[in-house]
Each structure stands twice: as C-alpha cells, then as structure tokens.
Symmetry: C2
Subunit: 335 residues, 2 copies
Amino acid sequence: MKRITIYDVAKEADVSLATVSRVINDSSVVREDTRIRVQQAIEKLGYKPNAIAQGLALSKTTTISIVMSEKLFGYNGKILNGLMDVAKIYNYNIMFHTTSRGITRMQDVIESIIKTRTDGVILFNDNFSEDELEVLQEYQIPMVVVGSKIGDTKLENVGNTYVDFEKMAYDLVNSYFEKGVEDITLLEDRLNASMLAELKKGVDKAFAERGKVFTQYVPYDESFKSSYVFLTEHFKKHAPSKLVIASRDSQAYAVLNACQEAGYKIPEDIELVCVNNNKYLTMTKPHISAYNIPEYDIGAVSMRLLTKMLVHDPSIKDNISIEMGYSFIPRGTTK
Amino acid sequence: MKRITIYDVAKEADVSLATVSRVINDSSVVREDTRIRVQQAIEKLGYKPNAIAQGLALSKTTTISIVMSEKLFGYNGKILNGLMDVAKIYNYNIMFHTTSRGITRMQDVIESIIKTRTDGVILFNDNFSEDELEVLQEYQIPMVVVGSKIGDTKLENVGNTYVDFEKMAYDLVNSYFEKGVEDITLLEDRLNASMLAELKKGVDKAFAERGKVFTQYVPYDESFKSSYVFLTEHFKKHAPSKLVIASRDSQAYAVLNACQEAGYKIPEDIELVCVNNNKYLTMTKPHISAYNIPEYDIGAVSMRLLTKMLVHDPSIKDNISIEMGYSFIPRGTTK
DNA sequence: CAGAAAAATGTAAGCGATTTCAAAATAAAA
DNA sequence: TTTTATTTTGAAATCGCTTACATTTTTCTG
C-alpha cells in the first residue's frame, strides 16, 4: 500500500509540489481556482501531510513534551486537562514522559526529548536538579516548570507557574496564632516534595516570627503501604494538635478517622485543613475544609505560556513566573 | 547555534556519513578501530541522532499513541504506568491524546495520529465507533484496545486486552441468588460506559436464566455535580436493595453514607460491592469489598502486545484478545 | 496594445538521516 | 607475489516536505 505524498497530489491537480505545499500551509499567494483544484485533489486522494517530513524541513515538530513523575500521575488529572486543551487549541502534539525511581531516569527522558526534537517542554516540579536540565539549554528548548516555585536559576528560557504554598501556610498558621492556637501539626507528603517544602517554609517562618520553633512535623515511613495507614496508627498513639494541616486527601481521612476512633471531636477539639481540594473531601462526615487550587487553570496557563515562548512572543522576555491564586473552602473540619 | 548532525560527526571522525550511521545503528560490518573513532567523535561533539530524520528515512517513528477520554484521566493512572514502563523497555516514545466532548473529537485525534506517522495506537475502550477507526486501517496502523471486550469487528490489526466484566457480574449475581438474595441493584457509571454495559449484560443474563427480569438499574443525571451527591439523595428516598453493585469508589461511598444516615446496617441489612478496587475503599468504616483489577498488568500486557504486533511477531496472527483476571477482595461490606 | 509591475507558479536545494551498490582495503589462497 | 575472496568504506539516491529564487502568467498603465 503506497502512501499518498504531496507529489501524488501535485500530479493529480496538475501543479507543482510547491503549489500543493502552499495550499496546505495556506499561503496567500495561490490563486483561488488552483487552490480549489488542489483542495479537491487532496480530498480525492485522502492526502494527509506527513508531519515527520514537515518536521525535518522546518526543524520544528509542533510537539511539546510533558514530563511528570509516575507517582504523581493520578493526582494531576485536571492540570493535564488544562494542558491538553490549550495544546489542542494551538495544534501542538503532546509527547508524554514519566520518570520513576527505578526504570526511567530524568536523563533518559531528556535524551529522548532531544532526539525527538520536541519544540518545548512542560515539567512538573518534583525535585529535579538543574544540572540534568542543562542539556536542554544547549538545544535552546524552552521549558515551563509547573507546580511550585523555582528559585533563582542560571537556566534560561524557563517559565514557571506556581501556587505560593509558602504564603498559604504562613497565612494559615498566623490566622490560628491570632485565635490563640499554637499547637499545630504539618503532615509530610512524599508524593509532592517540592510543594511540601514550600509549606514547611511558610510554617517555619510564621513560628520564627513569633520567636518559636515549629516541631510538629509528622513524617511517615515509606515502607508503609500508604500514609493513611501510618497516620491512622500514629494518631492513635500521639494525640494530634489543635490544628492539623494535611497535604493530601488520604492524610486528611487518616486524621479524621483516627480522631473519631480516639474520641476527639472535629472541629471542636481539633481542626483539620487539607491543602489540596478534591471531591473525596466532601464524602466524609464532616466534610473536610481545604484550599482549592485552580488545577485546570494551572495547566492551561502553563501551556499558553509555553506556546508564547515558542513563538518568541515579545511580551516574554527573561524567565517569567506566573503566580496562580487559590482560595480557602471552609467546610466542617474548621470552626 | 548550529546543531550537530551526522555530517559533523563524519568530518570529525574522518569517515563518511554512511559509516557514522552504521555505528549508530550498530551494524556489525564496521571495523573495531573505526567504530571507536566514530564513537569518540560522537562523544566529543555531543551528537544526538535526529529522530525526525530517522523517522523520515525509515518510515518508522518508534512512537506509539495513547488515546483516552479526558474524563477517564484520573482513573487510569496505574494502567498508564504499565503502558509507560513497557514502552520504555522497548524504547518507544509516547504521544498522548485525549478526547473530550467539546474540544477534541475522535476524528481530530485520528487525524493527528496519521499526520505524525505514529507506529501504533493504544486506545482506551470508551464507546468509539468502528467507522472512525477505519482510517487507521488504511494506514495499517496496529492498535490495541484496552479496558473491556470488543466484539466481532471487521477491523484488522487490532488487539484487545480486557477484563470479563460480564462474567464478573454474572457470577456475583448468581452467588447471591444461591444465598437466596434476589433484591439486587446495579449503579450506572457514565465514566466508563463500556465497562458498565458489560456488567449489565452479566446481571441481565443471570436474571434471565432464572426467568426474572432485572430492573434495579439506577442511572444518574449528569447534571448533578457528581454521582456521589445524586446517589446519596437517591438512597435517602429509595431504600437500596439487599445487594448494591457500585462501579466506582464515589458511588460506593454514596451508598455507604446514605445507608448510615437512613439507619440501615452494612453489611447486615445491605451488602455493597465495588467493581473497581482502590485505596479509598479502605478508608471507610467498614472497608468496602471490591473486585481487584490488575491495572498495572493491563497496561503492561497491552503495550507488550502492541510491540509484538509492530514487529509482526509470528505468534500474532489475526486479531488477538487477551483476558485479564481479577479477584474479589472481601472486606467489611459483604457478609 | 506594448511594456512594466504584480501575482502566481515552478525549479531545485536543503532538512538529517538510511541504505543500495560500487569501490577500496584487507585477508586468504595459489 | 599474484590473484581472488572477503571486509570495510564511500558515493549517491531516497524519504516527503518547505522555501528562496527564477520564471511564467496576469493585470495595470499610459
């Protein structure tokens, strides 16, 4: 089965390939009647331009790579939706890469990004190291890092969309200080280390400003099947504090269930806030208070930013960072 | 910044491009000392073969497209993990496509699959129509459909991995018949229509064999924010039956919560089984009994099958279907 | 209606690899 | 040491498209 090429179309329409190419890319120079003739030939033969050949000719693949850690997979659905929708609008194809501890190292991913001559990359911020990314610089592949803030960097051509988790935690803790509550716990989350680091910074800062040291940081051992099991056990032994900050739904569940078993009342004795809103938080009794993060928008904005970088939009100079807002949704676990 | 091409390497190593190409593809013909010389040149220049050019020359992109419905996103994380891991092993790149009601129609996806000359496709079974897929046939792009069973098809070159949901439902219902329970409800799930259709077939069949007609099929209105809210309300009004089969975690939660509010005891008065196991089912009280589906394996097996089809493995003739097992995990919501 | 200007089309050179076939280098045989 | 067989290498065509530049066609002017 011979595949239809631009040459076949040219012959069918009795023009040169150049002309066919022009109508494909709707160049304005071609005359209306020949455009129609070519269009019909394309239709008739069912011709579909070969993006690979185009890519080679143009040194441009209209393809964007998304890189995320395998474990974050189920959690970033909405961000992905935002990314995909905007990519679709601008007609970009998406290459998908995952990193995982054992099988796929970041380096391999970078390697294949380069080999496939991807135009740009969206990278989920998960403790990557700058050194690994340097190769991308050599190839001048623009990148936007999504999730949490990246600090100063020597890298060029990198955008960033983030939620200010540090501020979120800082404000939250302060608001409880003002209510006279100082007994506060933050739960570790291995799934999203960079987010957690920001949260912790915020909490530490708030404590430091009051001349206190924050200590109630509950880590959990990864050998446990899930943080849920671990935390539930933990809180049966150690009474939780007045305010518990969870970073994920399962942690919030754990706190809720452990407290109920231990006979603590929520929110009377203990208040609970989850840093990531999702539907599961409204399936408990009481519903769990949470911060809502505009996930879809994060995806959409990130991709839009990248597309601008790709066409060297004049409004994009230097590395640009976009802060995404968030809102608190009070529910049954806070007073 | 000029990118390094095979030509640069050739000059550096003082050989022709042909030779460089040979060492890249470890052709056995090249002599050891020149191989080393070329290798060094590659190293020195940091040369990375251009996959696009290779793709053009070979009519082969070593790229596989994954197509799934946007809404299924968060639910298929583990399958995706399996797919990605195996793709990595065989060095395939992944193009990712989502379909969604408004923005992205299947046809557009197919169009870009063809344009990008993807070697094969993994399609999540979600009520696609055969007609849409016919174009892929013309281009002889192999495909494996994952999720649920596809019936007879005139399509060629399509593999299938599935869980026999029909049998699952059939056996489940029968086992309750044997215990004397005939009052059974199945909850609709719009998220995974093809799975639900299979389940319903199984239930219907079991009822039909006993000369009964199955009626307790609870649909839900999509205008509701989530099935959870709807079902919770529903069950406050209509008492659930002796056995409720939920197809998703949130549905199971709804049943559990509604029953608790209405004063029914689980599992004494009502038993509850969820068709898809996940971690959330062990965060309730009682834990929810469920069928465990080998999601990771489904992904891995599907991708492996596709890779075999791509190299025309002789063990693959005609369309091949692989049934994946499942197991029941009894927990607190069944007696 | 000739000549100039503008618009439309075609020619041919890339883009960066692979691969066939011929030529050169090396090894084996006489 | 020739001659012949075998390995290695290189030259050049090819994959399917874009585009600068040349050429042809059309439109406009006077």
